[in-house]
Amino acid sequence: MTTTQLFMSTWRWDPTVLLGCAALLAAYAGLLRRLVPAALLFGAGVATLLLSLVSPIDTLGDTYLVSAHMVQHLLLLLIVPPLLLLGIPPQAGARLLAWAPARRLERVLSRPALAWVLAVSTIWVWHVPALYDAALADEGLHVVEHLCFLITATIFWWPVLHPVPARRLDVGAVLIYLVSAALASDLLGIIITFAPTGLYPPYLHPPNPHGVLTLLRDDWGLSPATDQQIAGVLMWIFGSLPYLAVILGTLARWLDEPEADLRVRAPGPALTEEA
């Protein structure tokens, strides 16, 4: 099989995924009422979601390459939720939160400390070899894994990219929140990179249902060792970039907003008196 054939033939149009994406879009349309430019972002988010779950990334990640699986996870964790959240315009967000159940849910889940611990521990726990391999072996568990990622990542990004900008964390908190999360996943990436080959044993000698193994191993040059290293550095180095992008975005917004609300003390006798 050639690379082109691989990319043409290994799409897997799983009905549950299609249904899920359609449901997302429908809910969004219901919320939105009127088309706005932000819808493009939401659309891109759904498209990325679809891409990560039905494209060859999924096929390769399921069976052959831990690196492809890592790409899938990173998309679900770092690309899809931010795009979806950015795609909700403030009015729509306000409408959503006017709905009592959503508001109650938000009150519980939008605590930054909780969101941080939930998201980071989800990433770590699912990358423990025993659980990771179990998810590979059992399709149902695999779906649970991906849902876990999507949901906790959405909870994680919510305080940073809240649809109502006024309710987002302030810039200092965002910096601490995101840098610490990035470092926490960097650490996992470092461990995957330098762990002995075969951290996830199923990828050592994958079954070859699509007959692409020689293509991957020889033409692409992805031996199990290289494959695992790529997975590691994807999480370690490239996985940090979305965090950085959001940090810089938040910072830019903050630097540009006017400071009229800042109170200013009248000049007067200053710092010399009290010790």
């Binding site: 908190a173 470092i190 609300d261 109170r263 200013v264 003390r265 009248a266």
Partner: protein, 218 residues
Amino acid sequence: MIQAEQQLGARAGATPASDEAGREQLDRFAAMDPHKMGMVLFILSESVFFTLLILAYLLYRAAPAVANGPNAKTVLDIGLTAIFSACLFASSGTIWLADRSLARGRDGLFRFWLAATIGLGGIFIFGQGQEYYRLLTHNVTVSQNVFGTTFFTLTGFHGLHVIVGLIALLILLGLALAGQFKGGQHRAAVETIALYWHFVDAVWVVVFSVIYIGAWLS
């Protein structure tokens, strides 16, 4: 101009009474306690330090020299250490209770929980000491193999941090007995030390998981 500023101030709510007030309403950082902030930063740097020690341990966990020589599975007493660890974990709770008692102005209770924290920390250190003694008498040393090297370095530095914490807590206790914290004064000092103590505890959660539970699972 002054008038304009006063207007600005009035619009935002109140006129600042003093420097401190003018400062604190700048942003959330300006309102924070400097000692606690300093401690958090110190903890941040210590986390990096321990991360490297832990990574070194993880790296050599599966080394051939460790598989054939003494290693966590063959020489460590997991059950006993679990008991001593429980004391350390419990001490995080007692120091929280101490701080809460202080906040409520219950000095006697504060001193009691502080002493309990010191006692629990002391038990942990005693436990670590007897484990070291057993290992060293069984010729498991820092120069025996890379397991010894990384194990003693990691747990030793943690133990050192516990001892430093105990000294700080003893000073707090001394000050408490001298009546320095009457009526909830200087609570920031207690909270700052408590932060450190929680950190030392949290490090042990990781170290205990990596070394002991890791060995038990493998």
